[in-house]
Every structure is written in structure tokens, then in C-alpha cells.
Symmetry: C2
Amino acid sequence: MTAPLHEAHPAGPGRTLPDTQQGMRRRNLARVMHTVSAEGPLSRAAVASRIGLTRAAVSTLVDELIRSGLLEELGPERPGRVGRPGSALAVSGHGPAGIGAEIGVDHLAVCAVDLRGAVRSRTVRYGANRGRAAGPVIEELVGLVRRVVGEAESEGLWPAGLAVAVPGLVARDARTVVRAPNLDWNDTDLGALLPSDFPLAVGNEANFGALAELWLGEGTPRDFLHVSAEIGIGAAVVVDGRLLHGTRGFAGELGHVPVRPDGPACACGGRGCLEQYAGEEAVLRAAGLELGEDRVGLLAGRAADGDEDVRRALRDAGEALGIALTGAVNLLDPQGVVLGGALAGLAPWLLPSLREELARRTAGPACPVSVSRLGSEGPLLGAAHSVIRAVLDDPAAVAERA
Amino acid sequence: MTAPLHEAHPAGPGRTLPDTQQGMRRRNLARVMHTVSAEGPLSRAAVASRIGLTRAAVSTLVDELIRSGLLEELGPERPGRVGRPGSALAVSGHGPAGIGAEIGVDHLAVCAVDLRGAVRSRTVRYGANRGRAAGPVIEELVGLVRRVVGEAESEGLWPAGLAVAVPGLVARDARTVVRAPNLDWNDTDLGALLPSDFPLAVGNEANFGALAELWLGEGTPRDFLHVSAEIGIGAAVVVDGRLLHGTRGFAGELGHVPVRPDGPACACGGRGCLEQYAGEEAVLRAAGLELGEDRVGLLAGRAADGDEDVRRALRDAGEALGIALTGAVNLLDPQGVVLGGALAGLAPWLLPSLREELARRTAGPACPVSVSRLGSEGPLLGAAHSVIRAVLDDPAAVAERA
């Protein structure tokens, strides 16, 4: 039985901790970690002034975090240097590592990220996973995880948890894939197949992509809709810096928002869903192309070469995205929409019609639409960083496990 | 300048209070109030065991709440009775009152609710407000507020705040009506027109209706979409027991979700918005009726009498609602959808086609749709109870003002 990794449903620092002296200590440990992580290196005095506690209280917390290997002292400042007093604190580069994994339709990837956010190890294996049973795919993935963990350990890191991004709906238990149509996996308990020696979270790739955007993107708002695509279209809703999961964990199914209610039948049972107009398969079909590997590369290449059929297909897809996003923007009133994943690579041809549709359907200024710089790396990085965030959010829990 | 009433953007008990000893005390005062409010009358010992504090700590908190007039002791139990020991505590029926007000297209209403949730005074004035300037409407409303406050004071209550429900978009400052098309009010600062002698919050009527459903409905889930209608169609999104406001405070604009993207032009700039199919005006037009007062009564009466044109118009409106809700359910994955406001009275004729549309467009079990029992009383009660909730959430703030 794997231990749950609470960041599968991320909360703010210590939000769910009990309101006791002990709970307050844990929240303050989290506050120190977040402060040093965001602004370090910092002296103890600087940390104290930023979080509004006494220097003595902060020193006790810092000592505990150093003992747990989560913070480290960079050593005394060189004598004669004016300014920052005392020894500066930084989050450890030799402590816990977040292990992120991604199961794509055409690839598997695993990486290890340290507390400082640096990718310390990374491996990718290409090959179609569509139609393969979960067992052998996960076995292959676990091989990659072991290799990455080994590399991280050889650099003095230890795995604080594993988060796995999958292109499908994941139950709120953060281990069961309820439906992944593009892998043909249904009601599959990945938790039973994955390593049990560290905390585990399985999550939707669009959700992890959105978290990466939130944590690593430049100027990403705290309220946004993140839209990504591989074969399907996924989206994630971020409200006040937190993922909206939905009752069953299925929120963000933008691909099945009806765009033209009498349009073509969709596998979901509906008609005229967004996926029927803007999913990779639909766009390839509309452009008269075959479904193969590197579908985005093919579309982007042809569009860049001026292929009018491909450009028209992408323009129509952008229009359908604009209609579906009009509904989403009306419901959620986000600060912005971010196109990530495969959509980022197609943005030059999708964006004009998408933005036009959104603007002409909304009163007042239209919701800004931007393109992710993380692109297809988002879900993998989001998964690894979700483990790191869990450490920052409750360092005491990690210290207990270490 | 009116003081802000923080429940315009409700938070859980004390969520935003600082994490200090003082903050902990305030949160624990809130916990005592919520516990006695939800489960009282309770002895001090029972409160202590429920919130996990010592009896001594609870006694200190209780004494403070009694001094502030928020709790009262019901007196010693009769001797000889076995069981609940000591004197039982209840929330005060003579303390703060929440004043709720509603500006409807055809009426004004004001009520006072005590900490126990009882409506202690209520007044309604009928008459069209459409096209009237905000000044005279608010002047009339303030007259009703003064009368209700007077009645509440004569019963020993004092106003803890005023919350006003309006049929339009309200900015996050909780005082400015940005757009209320059915009143013809735009960018109107109601805060400047309303009384400044107690805390104030102006909010969207669908939002207050949803809060009423959450707090007063039977078996209402904590994640739901509340859909209501007067002339427009409004909705509110509740996630984990909290309203989703959106960046500008405009979340929940279900009425402008595109249902048929090439459909009739809408005042919002879009085409084929839900309001063009399921708004009262659209339904009356489709049924061949004139727009007048008591539109819902007219439609419900005709439908009950078997008028086929009206029934067909309502069936079509239900279908359009089903299409728009399919998109919303896919995005938000709520536990349920609640039809409130005017829609509740039309539910018998809307629901069959609405449910059918939702079911045939969703894989797996369709999202349950229920009908509010509060109906058109929801927004007024939600407004008044939002003031009461603010008292329960931070009783120390109220005690400071008292």
C-alpha cells in the first residue's frame, strides 16, 4: 500500500493542519520553507522579519529544518563584506527530490527535481503506448523511475515522492485511472502497480501542466484556465492558485463541452463536443492527413510551409476553441487562458481565430489568451514539482519520514 | 464610507486570520460559535469535547462570547434530570441581526434574521424597477431597511450588517454594480447610496441564492451549480462550500454560454447564448406571449392548464439549459445542479428535457439536477444569512464593533 501524497489535491501551506500549538509549529515550519524557497538565500533575521515571528522562534524552526536536511547554511559571509549579516540560509540541494513521471500516448518520461527546482536527472523513452495493457507500460515506467532515483541518490538526494501524469481522468484517490480513452485504460489502479516505497500520486496531465504553469510560468495569474491537448483536449481550472478538482476529480473536461449541439457524435455520448473540432484526430482528418506519430510536428510543419488545408483546419479548430472557451470564461471569469501542451506548438495558427471568436462573443475586454513556454514539458515538470511543493507545504511530515 | 462586510467573499472560519496566538484565539471563538450554532443547545463540556479544547479554555471563550451578547445561557437544568450537565449554551436570540435586502426587477424586499436563523422582520414592496435610476430605488430600499431595523431593534436585536442582492454583475469591491441590464444600471456605486452606519455588502442575486441553498437547503452538496432566473439567467458556482467569484466577481454567467454558436444575436455581443433560448423573455416570445409582470406565474399557469405552445417553449428552454449545463458539468464536475429562483416554479416543464439532454451528452451517470425549495426567497435569505455567517466566522470582530 503506497502512502498518499497530499499534493494530488494541493492545499495552501498547512491549510488542513489542526489548529493547535503543534499545528501552528507545522504551519510556521512551512512558512519558513516557502520564504527561503521563494526569496533565499536569506539570513535568519530576514526570514523572521518576512514572516512576522521573533528571531528566536525562527532560529528554533530553522535548526529543525537543517537537522531534517531541508535547509542548509551557506556558511558565514566573507569578513569585510557589508550588508547581509550572519550565515545565509538556502533550501537544500542534497535533500528530498520530487520524482515526476509522465505516461504519454507516444512516450514515457521520468525526472527528478530538487528543492531548488533544478532538474537533476531526466529520461525519456519513445514508443506507442496506445492499446498496451497498463501492466507492461507501468513495468517499463518503473524501470525508468528506478534509474532516475538511482541517479538522484548518487548525488545525495532522496526521493520524497512520485507523481505520475496520465492522459485521462483520475479518481480523487489519486491512484485510479477511471478513463484514459487514448490509452484504452479504464478503472485501472495504478497504485497497485507502482513502487510502494515512497508517497505516490497519480494525476491528470492537464492538471499537472497547469500546476507547472502556475509555479514555473512567468507572470502566470492565480486564476486561469489551462488548455492542453495530445489526442484528446484537456483543461485544468486554477482558482486562487489552487486546482479545481471537481467531485470525482474530473473537472476541466473542456474537450466535451458542446460546441455545436447537433454536430458529429463523440465517444463520450454527446454530439458536437470541442474534441470533434479541435482534437488532433479531428484536425488531421479535416486537413486530409493520416493519424500517425508526431502529429503536432506534422501539422506545425505543414502549416509553416503554407499548406492551406492544414491552415484552414487549424483556423476552424481555433474557432471551436474560442466558442468553448467563451462558455468557460463566462462561468469562471478567469484572469487568463493559457494554451499549453501540444496546443502551444500550434498556437501561431490557432490563436487568431480563437481570440477573434472570444472577443466577438464577450462584452467588454476579452479574456487574455497566452501560450505556455513550458509546452510539452509542463505535465512532467508539474508532477515533479508537486512533490517538492508538498515538502514545502508540510516539511514536518517529510522530516518524520526521512 | 461604509465598512466592508467580508462575507461578500465568504471564507471558512477564520481562514484569513493571522497565524498568531491572537489569531488562534479568534479562530477558536469562531469554532465555538459555529459548534453551538449548528448543534446547540450544548453544555460547555460538550462544546469542549466537540472542538478538542480543554473545558477551561472553552469556558474562557464562552464567557467572552456571552459578554459580547453572541451566546446566552439557557439557565441550569432542572434538578433531578439525568444527562446533560450544567447550563446549556445557545446562540443569542437578542444579539446581532443580519439585514438582507433584495432589489428585484419588479420588487424590493428587506428582512432581518437573528443568529438562530429565524426571520424576525420582513417587508416587500412590489413595483417595476426596470429603467428607474438607482438613486430613487435605493432611497426607497433604505426606507424599508430603516423600518426592518427598527422592528428588529424593538425586539432587542442590533444590525450586524446589511447585504443587498441585485440582479447584475457586482465588482469584487462588493459595492459597485458593474452591469445590471434588466435594471439598466451600469457602473453604479451602491455603497455611496446605502447606509454607512453598519457593514455593507452588495452581491449578485444568484450568488446569494446559492449561499441560501448551501446553508438552508436540505442535503445540498458542497460542490454544486445553482441556476436561477428572473429576466436574465444567472448561476453561481459553489466549490467545497465556497462561492467561486472569478477575477472580477463575474463568475457564473451561464446565461451567456453559447448554446448554438450561430443562433440569434445577444445583447452581450455573442450569438446563440443560453439566455436567447431559456431567458424569460425568450420563452415568452417562443410561446407567443407578451412580456409583463409576474411572467413566471403566467407561464406556470398556462403550462399547468395544458397550453401546448407554452409547454413546447419550456421544453425547448429545458433542452437549451441541458446543453449549457453539459458544458458546465464537464468543466466543474459538481455533485449536483440546483434550479432556483424563477426556474424552480417552472421546473415541472423544464426538467424532463433538461435531464434528458444532460444524460445523453454525458458518459456514465448524469449529474443530478434538483429543484430548490427556497425558490424566489433564496437571494433575500442568502443575503441576510451571509451577515449571520460573518458573525459566526469572526465573532471577535463583531464584539469589537458592538
